[in-house]
């Protein structure tokens, strides 16, 4: 009679022991990662975390731990859907462990408590994080705290279709000198519109195809504002420079008026735009360094360097030649088990190693994040990444990390579109933008 209960307790004890020892020995961790704006060339945003997981598992094994990490990857091709999904998931406490998003999200997301500072989990003084470009790490910070680790860098150049530039009178030597001439402020926005017009007048491109900018809202348009002397933020306060914004709006209104840009350009199908710039239907256009990968891999532009030349965004009146870097950053979301977040942070750290990050840089034609990445042969052997890094990155600005920047951006874009399409005059658009900024942001924005 007494044997049975003893046996029972022994069995239970054995079971508990077995299960608890199993917990000690084997640890299964599930890490989910979401990435926005991710097309077929950007798979390493997610895959790098998987590569890192393998590395971390091996490191754990050497320490005698049986760590199993399952990485669940979710790419989003568009930005708006991704940001909506992420913010709502985070509010519902179902956010992924790691998010790859634009650095401008750090301000609102950290204020709302959706993300946690990565510097709480990693040693920024140790390699590879200590090697990341100082300015990129600054862009990934808010309120003096490092929230994210840059996942890539880029910049947004101006592209010119070489054969047409030659046809309107540029020699090979002139074209080789063009990037420098743009950088020195000798070739300006005014020259750009003139050249675009010449291309159309000569019948090289159809009307409206001389200058063929981005077809949707995006960070690119802040470059034009900078180009015309605008400042986005100063001393932690947003800045709306009326004169610079007027010149920016006027530039696009003039482009439409002179017929080099289509009035209906915004909102046109993206696929059509890609095909047209890849086949020489457009004369001059702006885009990101990552456009190289799409043009060459998906759109069939084989001889890129023979057909296209790229420069900084030329200076406009009152401003300087510039480009904008819009690094995506790895962010850790709040509300997870502390240990999982720590592992997620370790994965981000390992994924930032130069050779792993170079896979993304080369495949997607983004730029490297660290100094030693440019010494990785695989990276430096790639002509595009090498030339783009040298020519553009030193001149790159970034958008401010400010929780009210999104509101400013909306108002700026809405009125730019309205003045572009002629729905409002430039002056009316500036007036509307000013009054809406005043009523919406009050003293959080300096209007001058």
């Amino acid at each position: 009679m007494t044997i049975l209960p003893t046996l029972k307790s022994l069995t239970i004890a054995a079971a508990i022991l077995a299960s608890s020892s199993a917990i000690v020995l084997a640890k299964d961790v599930h890490i989910s990662v979401w990435a926005g704006g991710t097309g077929p060339n950007d798979v390493y945003r997610l895959d790098a975390i998987e590569i890192a997981a393998q590395q971390l598992q091996r490191e754990a094994a050497l320490k005698g731990e049986d760590l199993k990490i399952t990485v669940e990857k979710k790419p989003y091709s568009a930005w708006e859907d991704f940001k909506q999904a992420l913010t709502l998931a985070a509010e519902a406490k179902t956010a992924p462990n790691i998010v790859v998003s634009g650095h401008e999200d750090i301000a609102p997301w950290s204020q709302a408590g959706l993300i946690v500072p990565i510097e709480d989990y990693v040693d920024l003084d140790s390699w590879p994080l200590s090697d990341i470009y100082e300015n990129l790490l600054k862009i990934a910070s808010y309120n003096g705290t490092v929230y994210g680790i840059p996942q890539d860098a880029e910049s947004r150049p101006m592209f010119f279709w070489k054969p047409y530039m030659k046809a309107i009178g540029y020699s090979d030597a002139d074209l080789d000198a063009l990037p420098q001439s743009v950088q020195d402020g000798k070739y300006t926005m005014k020259n750009l519109l003139e050249d675009a017009k010449k291309m159309q007048d000569k019948g090289l491109v159809q009307p409206g195809y001389g200058f063929y900018p981005r077809t949707s809202n995006g960070p690119d348009y802040w470059q034009f504002y900078t180009s015309f002397g605008g400042t986005m933020e100063e001393g932690g306060k947003l800045v709306f420079d009326k004169a610079a914004m007027t010149r920016t709006y006027q530039f696009f209104a003039d482009a439409v008026k002179s017929g080099v840009t289509k009035k209906n350009h915004i909102g046109m199908p993206g696929d059509q735009w890609w095909k047209e710039v890849a086949t020489g239907k457009a004369g001059i256009w702006d885009g990101g360094t990552w456009h190289y990968a799409r043009l060459v891999n998906q759109e069939g532009l084989k001889d890129f360097f023979g057909n296209v030349i790229f420069t900084l965004i030329p200076a406009g009146e009152g401003g300087k030649a510039n480009t904008l870097t819009h690094p995506l950053v790895y962010l850790l979301t709040a509300g997870h088990d502390q240990e999982d977040t720590e592992i997620a942070a370790q994965l981000v750290k390992i994924a930032s190693e130069p050779r792993t990050n170079a896979l993304h840089a080369v495949k997607s034609a983004h730029l490297g994040i660290s100094k030693s990445e440019s010494t990785v042969d695989f990276y430096s052997a790639d002509r595009w990444t090498r030339e783009a890094t040298e020519r553009l990155l030193p001149h790159a600005n970034a958008m401010p990390n400010n929780s009210d920047f999104g509101t400013y951006w909306n108002i700026m874009w809405k009125n730019l579109e309205a003045s572009w399409t002629g729905a409002k005059t430039v002056d009316a658009a500036i007036g509307d933008a000013e009054s809406e900024l005043k009523s919406t942001l009050g003293d959080k924005i300096v209007i001058r």
Binding site: E80, E91, W109, G113, D123, K262, K263, T421
Partner: protein, 433 residues
């Protein structure tokens, strides 16, 4: 009698729950949200108190001296911190070395103190370094406090001498969550863009309603009325296609028709016109297509209602009129239209409410463009509250915009109920008394 009443209440209970959950609650929540400044940055569930460099900018103009003092991040190796480190259960040498070599030192930033900790003989792991540095944090900078009380006690602990009013000012400025406000409504009232969006909405509803949902639907019903039954059914079936085709595919077809490389461009190319995006070429074009796209979908419902209403007109009236030598037009004018008054009124009411709230076809076709020319109220509310390139979703303002639609919808419904004389329709039949 009593038990049947109870039974009735029980029977209706599930429906009441559904009504409250899915009809009443969304409206109540929209009304609640509309009175807040809720955005992505403020979060939905509420905020915390955080003295961050960002909020210090605002604090500097209100309490300059205190703000400057608060801006100082300080990491002090003091006895309280050392005791706390001893309590962490780490290697004992760590606390001892800290006490011996670094007691009394003050570090301006976390990275500085952490570099010192990493240099200790028993080099702690990254996790331990973070734990240790936190014990010496003697600043309120960037710490998130869940409640005002926690913030105030932290300020007291650090020796800030603040009056209750000053404390409240600090709390107000450093609060990261949403607050109650009526600003959304004043923003709507003062914004020229909102006036434009309102005008667009009225234009959209009026055009689609008169030209298609009622006008063209009536025309279709009359045409099919005079057709032999089989072709009439086929014709009506074809007109139902836009309604039953998935909206994404349906709009994509329109886009293929109107894109630069689409059917119209190819056709016009034969006559020497360069290809262009007819859909977004001008505001007029965009409106033309928006009205057609929505109209072709909306016309079918009116057509069905009107057709069945016409079927209910006694055939004898048509025969008699033909004997009298009436023309088709006279039949329409004197027999059909007078008897279609109520169906027309019903379709007008119903479709006004549908059109006011509908935006998905416009979203897919023009996304409100070009230059916000086709941005209607419901689409603008959606863009504001749920779609934003910069990820800064303005839930409060979006809800306020949605609330305006709800109010307009309810008001119109009341007007329509009056027009339909709803009281008479639901009056008790005299026979029951």
């Amino acid at each position: 009698m009593k038990s049947s009443r109870t039974l009735g209440l029980v029977m209706i209970a599930p429906a009441s729950v559904m009504i409250v959950l899915f009809f009443l609650m969304p409206v109540v929540l929209t009304a609640v949200f509309s009175m807040t400044n809720m955005t992505t940055a403020t979060g939905i569930s509420g905020g915390v108190y955080q003295i961050a460099p960002n909020s210090l900018i605002a604090l500097k103009s209100a309490l300059p001296e205190i703000a400057t003092e608060m801006a100082e991040p300080r990491y002090t190796i003091d006895e309280a911190g050392l005791k706390a480190v001893e309590g962490l259960g780490l290697a004992p040498g760590i606390a001892a070395e800290l006490r011996a070599k670094h007691a009394g030192e003050v570090f301006p930033a976390r990275r500085d103190v952490e570099r010192m900790i990493k240099d200790l003989a028993e080099r702690p792991s990254t996790r331990e370094v973070k734990q240790i540095s936190e014990q010496f944090n003697r600043s309120v900078l960037n710490t998130r406090f869940d409640s005002k009380e926690q913030l105030f006690s932290a300020l007291d602990d650090l020796g800030f001498k603040l009056t209750p009013e000053q404390k409240e000012t600090v709390a107000k400025i450093t609060y990261t969550g949403w607050t109650w406000t009526t600003d959304n409504f004043s923003r709507m009232a003062s914004s020229p863009d909102m006036a434009r969006v309102l005008f667009n909405t009225v234009l959209y509803v009026a055009l689609v309603l008169t030209l298609f949902n009622v006008g063209y639907a009536l025309l279709l019903a009359i045409w099919t009325h005079y057709m032999p039954p089989t072709p009439a059914s086929i014709f009506r079936g074809i007109w139902l296609l836009p309604r039953i085709t998935p909206v994404v595919i349906y709009v994509l077809l329109w886009k293929w028709l109107a894109w630069d490389s689409g059917f119209i461009s190819i056709l016009m190319g034969k006559f020497g016109y360069p290809p262009k995006n007819y859909l977004l070429d001008t505001a007029y074009n965009a409106w033309f297509f928006v009205v057609l796209i929505n109209g072709f979908i909306g016309a079918s419902m009116g057509m069905l209602v009107f057709s069945s209403a016409m079927k209910a007109i006694p055939k004898s009236q048509f025969y008699a009129s033909e004997v009298d030598g009436a023309s088709r037009w006279q039949q329409i004018r004197y027999i059909i239209l007078p008897q279609m008054r109520w169906p027309i009124l019903f379709v007008t009411c119903y479709q006004t409410l549908s059109l006011l709230a509908s935006f998905n076809e416009i979203l897919l076709a023009t996304n409100g463009g070009p230059g916000n020319a086709t941005e209607v109220w419901a689409l603008a509310a959606y863009h504001t509250a749920l779609r934003n390139y910069a990820g800064n979703l303005e839930y409060g303002l979006g809800a306020a915009m949605a609330l305006v639609l709800v109010v307009i919808g309810v008001m119109l419904s009341l007007v329509y109920l009056r027009v339909f004389n709803y009281g008479t329709l639901v009056a008790k039949p005299l026979i029951e008394d």
